[in-house]
C-alpha cells in the first residue's frame, strides 16, 4: 500500500526524493529521456537540446529570483557572457571540458559584479540595475569585434571529448542532457543544505536572516554567482549547439522568456524550472507546427506566426499569474498527492 512511507533514520528522511516510488518514477523518466535520440528526428533533437539548455538557464534564474528573491533581467546577458567566452576559448583551441566550465566561471564573476547593487537595491530597483547589466553586455557584444565578431557574430567548432566529435544534435544530446541532469542534481542538493537554505532565508526575511548570522550581502553575491554560473554554462552549451552566435541570440526577450519559464513553472522550485523551461520551449514549436499545418488553407498564417507567438506567451503568463500563481510545479504536486493517497483522496 502506498498511502505512506515512514523513514526510520534522519538520513533516510533527508533523502533527495521523498519516497521510493519517486525514485522509480525518476529512473523511468530518465530512461525515457535518453530514448529520445533513438526515436526523434533532428528537428525534435534540436528542440530537445534547446529545452535542456533552457532548463539549466531557468534553474539558474530560479536560484537567484525564485529561491533568493533577487529579481534579475540580466539572464540574457549572462547567457551571452557564457556563449562568447566559449566562442573565444574554443576558437583558441580550448577543449569542451575547459571551455564550458570556464564560461560558467566567467559568467559567475560577471554576475557577482552586477550583483553588487543588490546590497542596496531590492525588487524593481534591482531589476532596473540588472537591466543596465543587460545593456552594457549587449553593447559590448556587438562592438567588441575582436572577441565577439560584432553584429555579424562568430562561429564555434563542434565540441570534442577524447577525440569524439559531438558534431550534430543527436550526439550533442549526450553532452547537454547529462550536463542538465548534473546541474539539477546540484540545485536540488543545494536547497537541502546550508547554503541553499540561507538563500531562501534571505528571500523570506532578510533582516532576520542577518540576525540569524547569515552574511546577507555575501550570500546574495554567492547566489548571483551560482545563478550566473548556471546561465553561463547554458550559454556555453548554446554556443556549441547553435554553432553560430551573434547579439541576436541574446536580446532582452530571452531574459523575459526565462522569467516567464520560472513564473509558469513555479518560483522557488527546481521541478518548476524544468516544467516551465520545457513548456515555453515547446510552445512556439507547437504553434509553428499548427501554423504550417494550417498554412495550406490560410497561407498568410506563416506571417502571423511571430506576433502569434508573442501573444500566446503573454496570455499564458497572465493566465498562470491569475489561476496558478504557484506554477506547474504546484499543479503537479496536487495531482501527485491525489494519486499518492488514492483511493483515499479526500
Amino acid at each position: 500500500m502506498l498511502s505512506g512511507e515512514f523513514h526510520t533514520s534522519y538520513a533516510g528522511d533527508m533523502g533527495i526524493f521523498e519516497t521510493r516510488r519517486a525514485r522509480w518514477v525518476l529512473a523511468a523518466f530518465i530512461i525515457a529521456v535518453f530514448a529520445i535520440p533513438f526515436v526523434a528526428g533532428s528537428y525534435w533533437l534540436d528542440v530537445a537540446n534547446r529545452a535542456a539548455i533552457a532548463v539549466i538557464a531557468a534553474t539558474g534564474l530560479n536560484i537567484l529570483t525564485g529561491f533568493t528573491g533577487q529579481i534579475s533581467l540580466g539572464n540574457a546577458a549572462f547567457l551571452a557572457v557564457g556563449a562568447y567566452t566559449t566562442a573565444f576559448l574554443a576558437n583558441h583551441g580550448a577543449p569542451f571540458v575547459i571551455a564550458c566550465p570556464v564560461a560558467g566561471i566567467v559568467a559567475a564573476l560577471a554576475g557577482m559584479v552586477f550583483g553588487i547593487p543588490s546590497l542596496r537595491l531590492k525588487g524593481l530597483y534591482l531589476a532596473m540595475a540588472t537591466l543596465a547589466a543587460h545593456f552594457i553586455i549587449e553593447f559590448t557584444s556587438s562592438h567588441w569585434e575582436a572577441v565577439t565578431g560584432g553584429v555579424a557574430g562568430t562561429s564555434i567548432p563542434s565540441p570534442r571529448i577524447l577525440g569524439y566529435d559531438f558534431s550534430d544534435d543527436r550526439r550533442l544530446f549526450f553532452l547537454i542532457v547529462p550536463a542538465c541532469i548534473a546541474h539539477l542534481y546540484f540545485a536540488k542538493n543545494l536547497f537541502r543544505t546550508r547554503v541553499g537554505k540561507a538563500f531562501v532565508a534571505i528571500r523570506d526575511q532578510d533582516i532576520s536572516a542577518e540576525v540569524m548570522g547569515v552574511d546577507v550581502f555575501r550570500y546574495k553575491l554567492l547566489s548571483f554567482a551560482v545563478s550566473s554560473f548556471y546561465v553561463g554554462v547554458a550559454g556555453s552549451l548554446l554556443a556549441y549547439q547553435a554553432r553560430i552566435i551573434s547579439p541576436e541570440n541574446f536580446p532582452l526577450g530571452v531574459a523575459i522568456d526565462h522569467l516567464g519559464m520560472i513564473i509558469i513553472g513555479g518560483l522557488g522550485s527546481v521541478l518548476g524550472s524544468i516544467l516551465g523551461a520545457v513548456f515555453l520551449t515547446l510552445l512556439p514549436e507547437v504553434l509553428r507546427l499548427a501554423a504550417s499545418a494550417l498554412s495550406g488553407s490560410f497561407p498568410h498564417l506563416v506571417q502571423l506566426f511571430t506576433p502569434l507567438k508573442v501573444a500566446v506567451f503573454g496570455l499564458t503568463i497572465v493566465l498562470f499569474l491569475i489561476f496558478e500563481p504557484d506554477g506547474l510545479a504546484d499543479l503537479w504536486r496536487r495531482v501527485r498527492n491525489w494519486f499518492r493517497l488514492y483511493p483515499f483522496s479526500y
Binding site: S42, L45, D46, V151, A152, A242, I244, S246, N249, Q303
Partner: protein
C-alpha cells in the same frame, strides 16, 4: 505477418519513389523582419519561379519542392531553420537571404557541403578558397558601391576639389558589408569620404544623422539599407533642404522608392542588379505570362524579378548535376561552377562561376529616378581584380 511486412515494403518503395521524383530545396526568407519590405517580393519571385519551373518540365522531369520558412531577419532563427532543413528535410541546397545569416552559416554549409545561394551580395562570399559553397546572382555590394563612386567621380564637375561623400549604413552585417571596400576605393579614385553614419535596424527618423552629415559637407551620400530606410532618409533630407545627391544599394532601390519617397526620390541614383518588372527584355516574357495567368492583379517589382533570376540560375545547375548523375550538394556546387556567361535573357547580367572565383558578374548598372521613373543612367564594367576577391 507476412502480409503486413510486404505492405510495409510496398509503402516504403512508394515513398522512396515519390522522394526520387522530388528535389528538396530549402528557402530561408524574411517576410516579417526589418528587410521584409524587399524580402516579401523576393520570396514570391522564388516561389513563383519554382512553380513555373515545375510546370515547364521540372528538373529533367523531377519536381522541385521548396521547403521554406520565414526567419524574420534573425540569425538564430536562420540557424535553426538551416538545421531543420539539412537534418530532417535533407534539402540538397538552400536559397538564403540575409548577409548576417549567410556569413554566419558559411563554415557550416562548407563542412556539410550544402550549396547556399543567397540573396546577399556580400563580397565576403565570393572567394571559393574560403566560402566554396556560397553563391549569389549579381554584382557584389562592394562592386556596386565602387561603380557608384565611379559615377560620383564622373558627375562631379568642380575640379578645384574632390567630391565629398558620406556612407549611411545599418548596424548589421548587410549594412557593413561593402564599407571597407568603399573606404579603400574612395582613396584610389580620388573621392573624399568625409562621414559615416550608422542607422539602427528599423528607424523612423534620420534627422540627427543627416544633420551630422550636413556639418561634414558631403556632396554625395550612399545609403546601404533597404527601401523603407532609404525613403525615410530621402524624406528627412528633403525636409532639411539638403543639397546632397543620394545613391542607394541594390536593396534600397526599386519601383517602390519613387512611390513612397515621391519628389524626395527625384534624381536619386541606385545600383540596379535586375531590371524593373515588365521591362522589355527577352527574359521577361515568362514572368509576365506567369503573372497574367496566376495573379494578374498583383503588382511586382525588381525584387520579384530577382527571386526569379535566382531560381533560373540554380535550377540550371540542378539540371546539369542531375544529367551528370551527381544530384548531391557537391554535385550542385560543381555544376554551378560550370555556368559560363549563363544568359538570363536580360533580367540581369550573364552569370559565370569558376572554382576559383564566385563573382558572378562585375557589370553594374546605375539607374536614376527621373520623373518618378527608374531610368538606366550608366553601365560600368568593374575590373575583376584578384585583390578585390572576397573584399
Amino acid at each position: 505477418m507476412k502480409l503486413i511486412s510486404s505492405a510495409l515494403l510496398v509503402l516504403c518503395l512508394a515513398a522512396s519513389a515519390q522522394a526520387q521524383q522530388e528535389i528538396k530545396v530549402g528557402g530561408i526568407f524574411d517576410l516579417t523582419g526589418i528587410t521584409s519590405d524587399v524580402g516579401k517580393p523576393y520570396a514570391q519571385g522564388v516561389r513563383d519561379a519554382v512553380a513555373w519551373t515545375n510546370e515547364s518540365g521540372g528538373i529533367n522531369g523531377k519536381k522541385i519542392r521548396l521547403v521554406d520558412v520565414d526567419y524574420g531577419y534573425k540569425i538564430p532563427e536562420a540557424v535553426a531553420a538551416y538545421k531543420r532543413m539539412t537534418g530532417d528535410e535533407k534539402v540538397i541546397m538552400i536559397n538564403g537571404w540575409g548577409t548576417g545569416d549567410t556569413e554566419g552559416l558559411k563554415a557550416q554549409v562548407n563542412q556539410e557541403k550544402i550549396p547556399y545561394v543567397s540573396a546577399s551580395f556580400s563580397a565576403h562570399l565570393t572567394d571559393p578558397s574560403k566560402t566554396p559553397y556560397n553563391f549569389f546572382v549579381g554584382p557584389s555590394y562592394s562592386d556596386g558601391l565602387r561603380a557608384w563612386l565611379r559615377w560620383v567621380k564622373e558627375d562631379w564637375k568642380d575640379k578645384s576639389r574632390n567630391a565629398k561623400v558620406a556612407f549611411f549604413y545599418g548596424d548589421n552585417a548587410y549594412g557593413k558589408s561593402p564599407i571597407e571596400a568603399g573606404r579603400r576605393f574612395c582613396k584610389d579614385t580620388g573621392v573624399d569620404l568625409v562621414d559615416e553614419e550608422i542607422v539602427p535596424g528599423a528607424f523612423q527618423d534620420a534627422t540627427s544623422q543627416l544633420l551630422n552629415m550636413k556639418q561634414k559637407g558631403a556632396d554625395y551620400a550612399y545609403i546601404n539599407v533597404t527601401t523603407t530606410g532609404v525613403s525615410t532618409i530621402l524624406r528627412d533630407a528633403k525636409k532639411l533642404g539638403l543639397p546632397t545627391k543620394f545613391g542607394s544599394n541594390p536593396y534600397g532601390f526599386g519601383e517602390a522608392l519613387p512611390q513612397v519617397a515621391k519628389e524626395a526620390a527625384e534624381g536619386v541614383t541606385g545600383v540596379m542588379v535586375d531590371v524593373p518588372f515588365g521591362e522589355d527584355v527577352p527574359g521577361m516574357k515568362r514572368l509576365v505570362d506567369f503573372h497574367q495567368k496566376n495573379h494578374p492583379s498583383d503588382t511586382h517589382d525588381t525584387f520579384y524579378v530577382r527571386g526569379w533570376t535566382y531560381v533560373l540560375v540554380w535550377s540550371e545547375a540542378l539540371k546539369r548535376a542531375d544529367k551528370a548523375g551527381k544530384l548531391s550538394g557537391e554535385g550542385v556546387k560543381t555544376a554551378l561552377e560550370t555556368l559560363k556567361d549563363f544568359d538570363l535573357g536580360g533580367l540581369t547580367a550573364p552569370v559565370t562561376y569558376t572554382s576559383s572565383d564566385h563573382r558572378p558578374t562585375t557589370t553594374v548598372n546605375i539607374y536614376q529616378i527621373k520623373n518618378g521613373k527608374l531610368t538606366k543612367a550608366k553601365q560600368y564594367e568593374m575590373e575583376r581584380k584578384p585583390e578585390w576577391l572576397g573584399l
